[in-house]
């Protein structure tokens, strides 16, 4: 009766088998429809004479794939990915860099230096594990809590900090709130705040890739378990499946959408359970286990590109920080609850122990790199603060490819206004013509 799942991808076929098992269990002696399955356009399934409702307990929960124990030891050596030592160290360094950036930028928001920030604690393994398993040419549609992917791809702390300050070196030209990064050069589509809008977009991008001769690229789309409640999420899954798109739909299930816990966000077996039901290869992994994430994404990537099909990955994690600097999570959860995710289940800690077991890392190197990573951020911030904001005219650029006369006129009006009333505008903070 129970669906036997392995750590591998769930297939729709498996679900069909379950229905067969269920029906076998209750099938009467008499043969229905000559033993042939029904041939409705919407379902090819056997007939039964006994009615039975299915629910979330009709199946085993989808298991969570792990490679490492919390102490950093590999559970099954066959699952240990073959990654070069230098790469492993770079992966760890990226997580530490990310941690340091989070600490300092969070604090800088508290001091009023930037207007907003979002930390990534406990999701570092998801960022780095997935980024390392992808080709740098794969297109990334991020939500807003994936800055580790950006760092791993090669976006510098300087570029990220400039974006948070919205200064004239921000590639986004100061138009968006902090953490809305984007980099054409590194195939990272600029982040937008509305949730789940990126999901059908990612599927469309994957379809475009598929049509390119000898395509070797896929698309990865990150989204949270909260965003998965949006209508766009369902649209994305269904389009990805029916239009056979080489896209990895990567859910970061960190347990909270601002204050709303997963239990109030969905019922049933999480986001992963939606994959097989829509005909999508699906796997659930421990998001605090970087190596598990790495394996899942590399196999998903191979499958997606080879078969032109989507894959759904649900990475289980926990949002250790507040939702953002606008949030105080003590209003809806206890410090006690957070503790374990910040210690035993910390992806950074686990991966560090793994590197230590391999003899690639030690306390001294950790101290040195932490210090350096912190200094990089501090130095970058000091520089970013000195940089002027972009020329105010950037406010009206890029609305259209060519500025329509009406906007040209508005720019002229503002220019004349600023000539007349310069003392009432913070012009000295902005670049001038």
């Amino acid at each position: 009766m129970a669906l036997k799942t392995s750590a591998g991808f769930l297939r729709l076929k498996h679900l069909k088998q379950v229905v067969r098992l269920l029906s076998a269990h209750t099938r009467p002696e008499t043969v229905i429809n000559g033993g042939k399955p029904a041939e409705f356009p919407g379902a090819k399934a056997p007939y039964v004479t006994q009615m039975k409702f299915l629910n979330e307990t009709s199946y085993d929960p989808i298991p969570i794939y792990r490679v490492m124990e919390n102490n950093g030891e590999i559970i099954d050596s066959r699952e240990e990915p073959n990654i070069e030592n230098e790469t492993l160290i770079n992966m760890y360094n990226t997580m530490v860099q990310l941690n340091n950036m989070d600490k300092i930028l969070y604090e800088s928001q508290r001091q009023g230096r930037i207007s907003f920030y979002m930390t990534n604690y406990c999701e570092e393994g998801i960022h780095v594990g997935s980024a390392a398993a992808l080709s740098p040419r794969d297109l990334v549609f991020a939500q807003y809590r994936e800055v580790g992917v950006f760092l791993y791809r090669g976006v510098t702390v300087t570029e990220l900090v400039n974006q948070c300050y919205g200064n004239h070196e921000d590639p986004g030209k100061g138009r968006q709130m902090p953490v809305h990064y984007g980099s054409k050069q590194f195939n990272l589509v600029t982040i937008s705040s509305p949730l789940a809008t990126q999901m059908p977009q990612a599927v469309g991008a994957a379809y475009a890739f598929k049509r390119v001769p000898n395509n070797d690229r896929c698309v990865i789309c990150f989204f949270g378990e909260g965003a998965a409640s949006e209508g766009d999420a369902h649209a994305a899954f269904n389009f990805a499946a029916t239009l056979d798109c080489p896209v990895i739909m990567f859910c970061r299930n960190n347990g909270y959408a601002i204050s709303t816990p997963a239990i109030e966000q969905y019922r049933g077996d999480g986001i992963a359970a939606r994959g097989p039901s829509l005909g999508i290869q699906t796997v659930r992994v421990d998001g605090t286990d970087l190596l598990a994430v790495y394996n899942a994404v590399s196999r998903a990537r191979e499958y997606a590109v080879t078969n032109n099909k989507p894959v759904l990955i649900e990475a289980m994690s926990y949002r250790v920080g507040h939702h953002s600097t606008s949030d105080d999570s003590s209003a809806y959860r206890s410090l006690e609850e957070i503790k374990k995710w910040n210690t035993d289940e910390s992806p950074v800690q686990k991966f560090k122990l793994y590197l230590e077991h391999k003899g690639l890392w030690d306390v001294e190197s950790d101290k040195t790199w932490n210090k350096e990573a912190r200094n990089i951020v501090i130095k970058t911030m000091q520089e970013a603060e000195k940089k002027k904001l972009p020329n105010w005219k950037e406010m009206l650029e890029d609305v259209y490819y060519d500025m329509p006369p009406r906007i040209q006129k508005q720019m002229q009006q503002m220019e004349e206004h600023l000539k007349k009333y310069p003392e009432h505008y913070p012009l000295d903070q902005y670049q001038s013509d």
Binding site: S115, G174, M177, G226, G231, A257, K339, I407, Q410
Partner: protein
Amino acid sequence: MSSAIRKNCFLISKLFKNVNNCSKRLSSHFIYFPDNEKPVDGETSKMNMMQAINNAMDITLKNDPTAVVFGEDVAFGGVFRCALGLQEKYGKDRVFNTPLCEQGIAGFGIGLATAGATAIAEIQFADYIFPAFDQLVNEAAKARYRSGGQFDCGALTVRTPCSAVGHGGLYHSQSPEAFFAHVPGLKVVVPRGPIAAKGLLLSCIRERDPCIFLEPKILYRSAAEEVPLEDYTLPLGEAQLLKEGDAATLIGWGTQVHVLLEVAQMAEEELGIKCDVIDLQSILPWDEDTVCNSVKKTGRCLISHEAPLTSGFGAELAATIQEECFLHLEAPIARVTGWDAPFPHVFEPFYLPDKWRCYHTLAELVKY
């Protein structure tokens, strides 16, 4: 965790001592003019707009057993805390979180209202209301009409924070009133402060038509007034004349009302002229009488809103005013608004129709 963070904060603040602090957050772009007139007599309490809205919902939940309050993160009070304490007071079946889905929230609210319940839905930011556009425009607005009056969802009120806040950027700053003002069947309301918010929200909740209640989020905490504690409503479809004069009519809603009140004060001091200042309050339907009577008196009109110029609600006002007041107009109707661009983050001081832009336009208008 918290102690670790505190420790880090301390270390980091030490490190920051040498960093130039050249990018202090910009202070608010307006002065708040509190309401001094009370709509009803009786006991009052000092409330900010968040508390006044909370009070209106509290009164509703207390008196209307069918009423429910829901939306994303509403259980703990919502991200702006307008529903603070209501779940504890009225229970989890009346004040609750929904999954993260605006179209779901709107549709669910329509269903509640269709089945006889009073639905008070919160969309976390007006910038995120667009997935619910279909439900609101095609369903809520047309329910009575398409059923020949058999069904309606008048008991639905959708509350949502809108407008500039100083650092909201593209997706935490928009003022989408004009989109909804284009939809026959909806009522659209924007309060300018706590007293107005309470009375107007209670009207919206009891109104027989579905209402979109846009709350300028910058006023939640920055605006405080002596709000009457008892139950009162303010009429929908009526504007309020807040200041009287004869030189020009200044029309705004929400936060912009306060900018215009200051502009009127500046004009009085600098130009020696007095203006009518009208808070439209109801965007749809709007109060043609109050507006046109004022413009007929003053002969000059300035309309100001944060939303972009093109097809902003000012366009509708201007068109009607020129039809109704053509022979009284001494100058073309002026509009001072956000520019025709998305709402930008670091350029907000240049984007907003601030007092200097409004003042300059008013000065030109009276010289015309």
